[in-house]
Symmetry: C2
Subunit: 445 residues, 2 copies
């Protein structure tokens, strides 16, 4: 057969004989003729095996998901059969030869675009197969663009990418909800955040980012919890104030949304998703102001219901789907968060809310070694367990801050998915690692 042509390129080959490779997406046997939709990574095309085609016999044996190589002629469709606006809607492949590259067993459920209506458990039980569905592929295309555009934007702003470690020696920020690893004859832990590492690395590279896995052993099976997620982390030195961090994070989100809009128009349509509105300058209010606006008493944080209401109020007032909330009580946040010098009871940490939930958090950090040591003691931590971190600040660290966002959560929120598991290709939770864990004794390995 001829060299492979991608299905997305067929429009350039009208009147020519080509060879395509891909999967049987749909087969419609009409007796004398057999129609197909074929699918490869670049798209879909209709094929027809006419009654006099030498491939007719083979065509009749094919089923959905068979992998085939097909030689045929690219024909213009008659005007009345043109599907305007659809990929390859004006052409058709007249099939001359079919070579079966791999067979497929009968599908356990309907995988067609219109018939696909599985509950999430079934989807995850058959993740390997379900990944092929256009709706599911669309989710990961969007996630891909989120992650890739994050890296692009960071690089464009002079940020250096580093590889944050997964295995950590101790639990720096509190011991709850951490996974323990049997590390030779010792214990180690899966990282909950690259926070301390990115703060170290800015003292050598000034501006750094990482795309890394973080882990939470949360014994809860809600629609918002995964045990393993992708964290997009940034940290920057030589800031004037926490507002530089806010601005950089805002520009980052704006860039990501712009790229998703531009590169995923088709996917957004398929998933019926509408991107949130980011106005020219995202509204930014203190926690105290936010609580006042909500008519709520002073508190250390917003609860989920308040987050929702605040987003609605801001949307009505300004048209923005996003709002920054800053200035949390210092003692309720980690030791490294920078207290406001004029009012040290409140810190210069911030969260970005959108559509009722947190998308991103960050803020300014303490860079003065003496102040950092004082906080370590006040927070009741053991300085020996973070000695490497402290060394970075002992020898001169610039005023700095940073932010982090979760790739799965952002994917979920952008696309309006109901469960964060849909936004993870291989979601892990307390009940599932690929397959369900109960009745699946992995302890014998």
């Amino acid at each position: 057969m001829k060299e492979r042509t991608l299905i997305g390129e067929l429009g350039k080959h009208v009147g020519k004989t080509v060879s395509i490779s891909g999967w049987v997406n749909v087969r419609r046997d009409q007796g004398k003729m057999v129609f197909f939709d074929f699918r490869d990574r670049s798209g879909k095309v209709q094929g027809v095996t006419l009654s006099d085609s030498p491939a007719l016999e083979t065509a009749k044996t094919l089923r959905c998901e068979y992998v085939v190589r097909v030689e045929g002629v690219v024909n213009k469709r008659p005007e009345k059969n043109v599907h305007a606006g659809k990929q390859n809607g004006d052409i058709e492949l007249e099939i001359k030869q079919i070579q079966v590259l791999a067979e497929a067993e009968s599908l356990p459920f309907d995988m067609s675009e219109s018939g696909f209506n599985l509950d999430l458990t079934t989807q995850l039980d058959h993740r390997a197969l379900v990944l092929r569905h256009p709706r599911v592929r669309a989710i990961f295309k969007v996630q891909n663009v989120i992650i890739d555009s994050f890296r692009q934007f960071m690089q464009s702003q002079g940020f250096f990418e580093f590889q944050a470690p997964v295995i950590t020696p101790s639990v720096a920020e509190g011991g709850a909800e951490v996974f323990e690893v049997n590390y030779f004859d010792k214990k180690a832990y899966l990282t909950q955040s690259p926070q301390l590492y990115k703060q170290i690395v800015i003292t050598a590279f000034e501006r750094v980012f990482s795309v890394n896995k973080i882990f939470r052993a949360e014994p809860s099976a809600t629609t918002r919890h995964l045990t393993e997620v992708v964290s997009l982390d940034a940290e920057m030195g030589f800031i004037e104030s926490w507002k530089d961090v806010r601005d950089m994070s805002e520009d980052t989100i704006r860039w990501i949304l712009h790229k998703v809009q531009r590169l995923c128009a088709e996917e957004l349509t398929l998933l019926e998703a509408t991107l949130p509105v980011m106005t020219e300058k995202t509204p930014t209010i203190s926690l105290t102001e936010a609580l006042e606006k909500l008519g709520a008493p002073a508190d250390k944080d917003l609860n989920p219901e308040q987050e929702h209401r605040l987003c609605e109020l801001i949307k009505t007032e300004t048209g923005s789907d996003f709002v920054y909330v800053y200035g949390y009580p210092t003692r309720t946040k980690p030791f490294y968060v920078y207290p406001n010098p004029e009012n040290p009871e409140f810190n210069e940490g911030m969260d970005l809310l959108c559509r009722g939930v947190e998308w991103l958090s960050g803020g300014r950090r303490i860079n003065d070694y003496g102040q950092l040591l004082k906080h370590v003691k006040e927070w009741g931590m053991d300085p020996d367990k973070i000695s490497m971190f402290l060394e970075a600040f002992k020898y001169g660290a610039p005023p700095e801050g940073g932010f982090a966002l979760g790739a799965e959560r952002m994917t979920m929120q952008i696309l309006g998915l109901k469960n964060v598991r849909e936004a993870s290709m291989f979601p892990r939770d307390m009940n599932r690692i690929d397959t369900l864990l109960h009745g699946n004794d992995t302890s014998e390995n």
Copy 2:
């Protein structure tokens, strides 16, 4: 003070007053005048505080690694003081104002470029500080380019990036040297390879890659072992033969070397590194041919000494630092490797050797479901433990293959580093996770 100018941009501001921010790299107090080298992420510049400068008093209090903001005038140097070919070698900053952003304690050792001569243990004991040294930063600049150019090249070839999981449910490819995670009331494991996941994902996306962490619990502390490394993985469907995989991997390495050459010239000079030579077509020989060439008896693999000698022979014969070796005994390799149909005792796996060690391995995989099941049984594996993987092949998978390379090992080899720990920003081994593990009881957390 004025807005910050990056040190690397100072050449554009001759005669002007500017403000820079950075670290004191060197201070030379000559009594009436104080000279500095300042450093930021973009480079270095000499500064001078003249005897009549209002900043003289502050200048005398500064020490190495102080973080400062400095305002001054960019002056051309007199001809006799020009350092040709050196960044900012023709200018000097005449210091008018100094603001100390953060102090630094006295350094525990000489951090100057010429005086830096620490054993690796001391370097790792002070990783946070040592990361600032230009030699160390240069290593990670090169690693960064390796990883980033891998992604770029994969994207240019239509590969889709996916996030391979860290937590795995069972030990698919043999239980030795795997880290166990206490996963709620069950056991889980840290991934040793994204192999099975990338094979699943190509059945939806055809061509995929990932940059991911893999883990080996090897109880050995050699110069080549880390417990956590970055793996660069690729997998592609619709290949004609394993040679398509070889060619793609060759093009990938060629592209990475090209980018390192182009973007890291300065770093390569600093580290006195020479890139290996990749000729127009990398020599490719079977294991049997390789052993014959070495005058060695038939065997299931090359030993390290044979790998070295083979590379030397090939270099002498062809000028190539690289050589592909393919065709290993089928039963000595994992179940998924594709046996040569004409001689099933040997498989279509391959390794790329360079300068005596393996840089990359890969090959064609079995895509036929029946053949795969047969292998699973012959290899004595439990199909239930890889049911998700098997499902991908049950429903039609194209002929496929892929490859993987380790980012730290490639960094080490390209730069001629003596120990792979130098090529990991935060190296983990059986004795160290940031700090040494003995005498550091982490079990109390």
